[in-house]
Point group: C2
Chain length 336, copies 2
């Protein structure tokens, strides 16, 4: 647990307090609060008034204990502010709602405590967890107890339970092949992440280029529009004959297009640009952004289905039965 102050809930009124105040028994209070039959209109009014007076709010724990509960799914994401995640969240939420589940979203970037504390706290509030969980498999028991967990990840890690592997290989290959097939000769990538080593997307780009016997060209940038813009500019400087650029994600691709525009290079006539993620957002720019799209609706549905059935005991807590792989598909819009 974190040392962070948990809000101290002031001594709350309980059924008994209301009952005493209204001069009735606890059951009568229950009846009034829950619109049940077997209570006269007049006492109901009296009870409700007492409840309001005391600011009585039924404890959802006492209630959940006896009523059984609507299960809650924890969804862990990196940053709500990156449109990729809300797009996925929308699918997770709607699929979960269809199955009678609630969703509690945990935003790592905007949570003050450490990731580990965050997850431990989350695990205590929910019945299952799905999302971008980057915790060593060996720590799973410690953090999640016996909860069903589905991790969305680019590289399957040992010890994880449910897994949806986001395989960038086929998509990157398709993108490179498409660019090359449509006559592009100098195909580069703006990668993100620590500059020392290519990201997984970067690796796949490199592999695809090697397959075609093409010379790779890669620069690194911050994972922002500005980062993409700088990367794009660097690329043009390094190779003035550049005619195809793949960006780490859609945001960076927007930056790349900006850089090209500033240099007077026409997209896609002189240079094609392809993003990764396939967000709706890509339609905002002129030209509209082509992108390696993940079917986020499908990913959300798949993940919720998996974790939900793990919870129900229909699927094991781990193993090949709860591992899936998804990949990208090239979304042709205007920039390529």
């Amino acid at each position: 647990m974190t040392a962070r102050a948990r809000a101290t809930v002031p001594r709350r009124a309980t059924v008994l307090d209301v009952a005493a105040a209204a001069g009735v028994s606890r059951q009568t209070v229950t009846r009034a609060m829950n619109d049940m039959s077997g209570i006269s209109a007049s006492t109901k009014v009296r009870v409700l008034a007492a409840a309001k007076e005391l600011k009585y709010r039924p404890s959802r724990f006492g209630r959940g204990l006896v009523l059984g509960h609507q299960p809650t799914l924890g969804f862990v994401l990196d940053d709500l502010t990156n449109p990729y995640y809300p797009a996925l969240a929308a699918s997770v939420v709607s699929t979960a709602a269809d199955r009678g589940w609630n969703v509690l979203i945990s935003d790592i970037a905007h949570s003050p405590q450490g990731v580990s504390d965050l997850l431990v706290g989350l695990a205590q509030q929910v019945d299952a967890v799905i999302g971008y969980i980057r915790v060593p498999g060996s720590d799973f028991d410690q953090v999640f107890g016996n909860l069903p967990v589905v991790a969305l990840e680019t590289k399957p890690e040992a010890g994880h339970r449910g897994v949806i592997e986001l395989d960038f290989g086929p998509g990157l290959r398709e993108a490179v092949q498409y660019l090359h097939g449509s006559g592009r000769q100098r195909i580069a990538m703006v990668d993100a992440g620590p500059p020392e080593v290519p990201s997984i997307r970067g690796e796949q780009y490199l592999a695809a280029m090697a397959e075609l016997g093409l010379d790779p060209l890669m620069v690194y940038g911050e994972q922002t529009v500005d980062g993409g813009q700088e990367g794009g500019a660097a690329l043009v400087d390094a190779a003035p004959d550049i005619d195809g650029i793949i960006a780490f994600n859609d945001h960076m691709a927007f930056g790349v297009m900006k850089a090209l525009r500033h240099r007077g290079i026409a997209v896609p006539a002189q240079c094609a640009v392809i993003g990764i993620d396939g967000l709706e957002l890509g339609r905002i720019s002129t030209p509209e952004l082509s992108s390696l799209a993940l079917d986020l609706t499908e990913v959300g549905r798949l993940g919720v289905d998996l974790v939900t059935r793990m919870h129900a005991g229909e699927l094991p807590a781990s193993g090949p039965e709860v591992q899936r792989t998804v990949h990208h598909t090239l979304l042709h819009r205007e920039s390529s």
Copy 2:
């Protein structure tokens, strides 16, 4: 309650089951599960094994009942897919986390059940509610019981409890005055919402124009990029001398800029464009979008502060003490 199937939780193992399986008492199970002292390593291992075997997951209700709980805030928004909401959610989540609260996000657009059912369900899961609540004040007791509620709304409604009023007046006035002051003569707006009647933003635009003695010009569009594009095109058709356009929101403003580009009208040289919302996203386009910005960080902080203190009893459940007003400020980027 909705008729929607709630997930049936299969008879779950309890402490007693684990205790029986491991041949120990319930307290020993508790000790093992919670890493407490007073238990030998060997029995701990045995208990943990039994727990895993039975897929035992402690009930968060039983646990919450005795332990006291981390309070949870319900945040109601229209559509996660509209970047405005995640931007606000980020602030709500981080402020709430600072105060030791969890946040449960309810996305109206992606929830299959009706709004009313959604809110009733939410109210049973949380300790306070904040967000875009469009429920008649008279229904509040019915829906929310005695929960603290803070509604974000453009027009204060009678019977609401806490309120943060989003006042578009000052912002729209500032925008119109700025455009006029910088020599624009023909200032129009692309509004959204039902075409029969101006939206609140539309009304404020009209009022600001009237103040300056300017002729208003308003068209309606869907609340999307395409809607904005159609609106922009319609505006150019209606008034070829148009030199200033305000859009209902940033998304529509992007559409407007697209339309202008297609018509060969330079932004901002020939025609200025101003959006509403002030999203980071506005930096994606070329030129970057000027916008009437709401300080979403501030709104989130304010709202959480209010509702949190209402919960603690430091602030009344309703009345002027829990009403605030915020307004927009003109964010000058490149399109104006």
